[in-house]
Symmetry: C2
Amino acid sequence: MSRLTPDRIVAAAIDVIADVGPEQFSVRRLGDALDADPTAIYRHFRSKDELLRAIGDRSLAGVVDDLPASSWRDCIREVCMRIRAANLARPALASLVRGAPPRHRNELLITETILSRLREAGFDVAGAAMAYHAVIELTIGSAAIDSPLACVAESERDRTYEEWRSDYAALDAGAFPVSVQMAASLYPQTADQRFEYALDRLLDGLSLTVM
Amino acid sequence: MSRLTPDRIVAAAIDVIADVGPEQFSVRRLGDALDADPTAIYRHFRSKDELLRAIGDRSLAGVVDDLPASSWRDCIREVCMRIRAANLARPALASLVRGAPPRHRNELLITETILSRLREAGFDVAGAAMAYHAVIELTIGSAAIDSPLACVAESERDRTYEEWRSDYAALDAGAFPVSVQMAASLYPQTADQRFEYALDRLLDGLSLTVM
DNA sequence: ACTGTTTGTCAACGGTGTTGACATTGCAGC
DNA sequence: GCTGCAATGTCAACACCGTTGACAAACAGT
């Protein structure tokens, strides 16, 4: 075996990203962390993009383990929440999804799980495909939006939300009456809970198509 | 007045992005297009990020003009489609959604429009806030995911989707039976239509909360 | 032990955003 | 008019970035 392996590189990369943030992550920094020449990484990954995908896939390990067998809704809901949690925990991943197809094992397992549950629930092939894409777009897209704020301390996050609310409250009440009136009610609860609500409403809507 | 103005820079930047794609957009290219030194741009924008935000702001102009007055669903649907269209046309925006967003006029107009329609439709304050966030997260998130493929030629896009489908079809049918079976049905229709479907199902689900 | 592939190292290429020093322009106030 | 000052454009340079090709060391198979 070689000194560097894909596994060790991915593990080190996750550490580096946790350290310096996804924005500052670079091949050179990763090389430093590995005490190896940065270009050695290209012996194991064709490009940085391929490396990032591998990192993303590793973070999705276990997403489809021990799922509730109760209903298709509960199952898919849980999968989506776990995907979100994985993406928010390592915020770099959310940004690198970029519509790339799931070529890796964990991503494929997720697809297989969601699709099969939908089919069991009575979705026809076309309906299952549409429902799958709908649920995934909401989950991944929402995580991409929320990830920047997910990695800062809770106090700072709260302060940011409060700042945004007061921005709305300070608007011209003539031009933006409803925004001003509702300012205090915007960004309610936590970002996780807002996602949960959106996912539940989407699943409600999808349920209607199969009954 | 100076030879370069923020307006002219933004206009040129939009042209350049349309030409070479968001990925290849750089300050140097923009300088070439303006027949000026690239660093002259920094006399009008503090950073590339600020420039991108200005581009984003302009691209959202007109999103809330002449909306259908019929139903709240039609109205919000139309707003979301226009936001998506704006984001996909100027894909650079998708990548900058992640930063802490300063409130710009067009963005505020969109918020006001959606919130007021929801309130008129009978949503209470809390429900309108949740529905607003749900709809926006799906719209912006989905656009962020779809934008990389939105700016390539249709033939190349079709080829990419076909490649992804055949990736699924080539999987081990024992481990991924449903994925293999449904391979040809994945990524159905266009990305716009898939988003439309997801949005409609989400609106269906939101409708249930207000009846 | 010889050979050929794999892996690590090094220098370098072409690109990026951004900064500071310098030259030029335009415009206020006298 | 002129002067002085701020705004604007130009240039060179910095510190990075992802990636490639040539070369050396280590390993595998025969």
